[in-house]
Symmetry: C2
Subunit: 218 residues, 2 copies
């Protein structure tokens, strides 16, 4: 049975709850950018492993980095992975147990992770990590050393085989249940940034760059 | 090389950043309970797949549910999975790019997911889902029907092969970098519940049960 879909591949096509699915680049990228933490799944000796890690996006690629010795780097380089970004936006409370739900945004991204091998390119990508999250900060920092660069690996995944899923709004109850005197509604949930906390080891007179407050989350 | 560890199994043992690792039941459960959203990884035709879903914990088991037709249910039942719960608690800003980090809490849980087959047990578990998240709500709801029960599957994973990883606090910079006039610190991040929103289809006079405000997130 062929289903009309914009999904870029069969494994990307959302089957359950497909009305919540979106495949357009803007929606996918907005979710990838909403929180700098993803979960990367890979297969290790035939078994599934999923590890949270920080990620960032530049253009048509998602990146993550780590020690060259980390399992998440060594076991993903050149391999098929599935990367998930998910945000919980609310608890949805219907008039029956099974019509309770959650509001959320999520992206699943499939593909082969590739290692950035060229050292200059790797430096550019690590600069991209800092500048994506905190524009302007790279130039304020102690420059990256060759030793650090050598010890750090960057993995890259194209934003290509991606699907997004979004649920918003109120419960969808069975029509007859709306006549029941049961409260339905939503408990909204959001990620919030608190006031920055100075490192007690900051030198006297060193102030937080105000641009850091531009950091967006959620 | 044998490393002294409390890890319940080799695949559970945290290798990188092992000083951040914890294996005690209380720490693991506190993180599992902190947010009702996890990512479940499984292997499908040799490829990794990871899907976000709602979960809850009762005692020594984590549960999630879904349509009996959902891929996450069908492909995980009786299979090895890896379940991840991760919370981003802050952005950690050091004096150099590579000493930027994140504060977080995460749990990785390995094991074989099993289907709750007995119908009465399944009903009890679904009640447990509602009561874990919203104590007292089950009895306020339109009772679950046999049809709903039949269409819903519950999967179960023992909290057994689990590891937690936690990072808190300030950047850990290279000792000589503390002498630099660069701001270091933390941007705290937290999940917050907003004011509940009434479903516009609530009957007149139906008020939100105040106990729902006991819902805890983060």
């Amino acid at each position: 049975m062929a289903i009309k879909t914009d999904a870029p591949s069969e494994r990307t096509r959302v089957k359950r709850g497909f009305k919540r699915a979106k495949y357009d680049r803007q929606t996918v990228c907005d979710i990838l950018d909403a929180v700098p933490m993803c979960n990367v799944a890979f297969v290790l000796d035939g078994m599934p492993v999923v590890t949270p890690t920080s990620h960032w996006r530049e253009g048509d690629h998602v990146y993550w980095h780590g020690s060259t010795k980390s399992r998440l780097i060594k076991k993903c380089a050149g391999k098929e992975v599935c990367l998930s970004v998910s945000l919980l936006d609310g608890m949805v409370m219907g008039r029956s147990a099974m019509n309770h739900s959650a509001n959320y945004r999520s992206v699943m991204l499939f593909g082969k992770a590739s290692l950035i091998k060229d050292r200059d390119e790797k430096r550019e990508k690590l600069k991209g990590m800092i500048e994506t999250l905190f524009p302007g900060r790279w130039d304020m920092l102690r420059p990256i050393t060759d030793k650090e660069l050598k010890a750090t690996a960057v993995l890259c995944l194209p934003v290509d085989e991606a699907s997004a899923k979004i649920r918003t709004g109120f419960p969808v109850d069975d029509e007859e249940d709306y006549a029941l005197p049961i409260w339905g509604g939503v408990l909204p949930i959001s990620m919030q940034m608190g006031a920055p906390i100075d490192d007690p080891r900051n030198l006297e007179g060193v102030e937080m760059p105000p641009a850091l407050l531009n950091f967006k989350i959620g």
